[in-house]
Symmetry: D2
Subunit: 152 residues, 4 copies
């Protein structure tokens, strides 16, 4: 499973993001997931500066996180990120978290995104300048159909 994840980034768990027990707060994982998505897209040259935002028209429609082992204050976490499928108007990001230099999976998660016409509320086609680089980058690693979100 892990070999399907071609893009990786590292982030350190900050003091502000941990809870009273010194563990990364459960809601903050989704903030880190967002940073992962932006880094993944930035890596593909998909610019997300402020001027581009009004045309983004892309909404998070589903979120999932499985917390297996906690990430702790000051841990340097390796985030493995992939797009697992991309369809006409939707795609899925998947994440695997490990402590840097360790094999054990701490967390898995996914985000389902849909491109939407914000005025009509109807789904719209993912623009080719976004879809094509993702398809090219992921190649054969893309799932044939949306299925098991993240391997156990």
């Amino acid at each position: 499973m892990i070999e399907l994840f071609k893009f990786r980034t590292e982030m350190r768990i900050s003091f502000e993001d941990v809870d009273l027990f010194g563990l990364l707060h459960n809601a903050k994982y989704f903030s880190y997931f967002e940073k992962c998505r932006f880094e993944y897209l930035r890596n593909l040259g998909l610019i997300y500066g402020e001027e581009s935002l009004p045309n983004v028209e892309c909404a998070v429609v589903e979120h999932f996180c499985s917390y297996k082992k906690p990430a702790r204050y000051d841990d340097v976490i390796e985030f493995l990120i992939r797009v697992s499928y991309i369809k006409r108007s939707s795609l899925q990001f998947q994440y695997i978290l490990r402590r840097k230099g360790e094999e054990q999976v701490l967390t898995t998660g996914y985000t389902n995104l849909v491109w939407v016409n914000f005025e009509s509320g109807k789904p719209k086609t993912i623009p080719p300048h976004i879809k094509d680089p993702v398809v090219e980058f992921e190649g054969d690693n893309l799932d044939k159909m949306p299925g098991n979100p993240v391997a156990k």
Copy 2:
């Protein structure tokens, strides 16, 4: 489905929690879910003051959120909350969000919690002083087995 949710609370979506589009940020829903859990437990007299925290030994192990329609800045949101199942060492909270006074479901979500011995990492039995009031409050609404997390 909605009639299974006996506990409700209201919260207003704050300026700080919305994104550049004026919509409640996707990660912040999980912060509101946490406030829901605390209110639910507080309503049952399950005190969660600081002195009780070292004994809590309860961990979020899975999170899910389905975003159907956005909650917006300054919306007053009605949160419907239930415990859907409670087993020896685990339980599930479910949430339904609606704008106050409206029928339309904006969001559904769930949190799976497990009681754990923080030293050994092994699951432990939910203490009766927590389990019993929950079972009594939910009554026949408790699912016979953990299944479909939140109705579509």
Copy 3:
């Protein structure tokens, strides 16, 4: 000093907002201050729904907080709030925090706001529909000149 504060609101310190020591995180005080400002303005009937936001054109230009004693997890905090001065294009909010039912001051702080034309970046006159109710509410409690932000 405290008798100058005519508006009060209460908020409970949430689990997510405390740090590893169980204390309200220093940055989060400013989030609570913001909620205070909105509640103060809401109390005066100054509507701040989403449709009004494009016309707000009001910027935080200075922030100060003096942390004397910590607010802790699950504390119910009484926030005392006043506008201390209001000039042509600027005003100051001041805050005093105390644990509910206690005299001891935990925190003092202030926020300086300026009304700005967002296109030109120049200060603009505070609209009378905002200034007048504030002046009427605060009455003689308004400082004659901006000075000592919050009494020690």
Copy 4:
């Protein structure tokens, strides 16, 4: 003034941290300040891993921020950081924010910290293993007395 700041770090303003206007939210500056302090100390080899935290006994006692020009979504901000004074039990961090590659100062701010015996609540002496490296690093740039927090 700026030449007094010998330590610099860069951070990108994330989507989650901006408000409805695309500007870094006023409370979030203090989160970035905290990251600055940790980076400054890490750069001096002052380890702040979890095991060291129970002995930290250091509290933020005052915070100030002057917002001159906004930092925006996706901006790469250069943070200039210094310790401006260090006394027996207290010190001050100062910050200057600029957009990377630009001269204009966006924001200035400071944090006053005091070392405290958490049991007695009394100030305690800053441990030499922290004070000495700071004094050595800042050298003659240290203010002779705590005064004007950040130059206008």
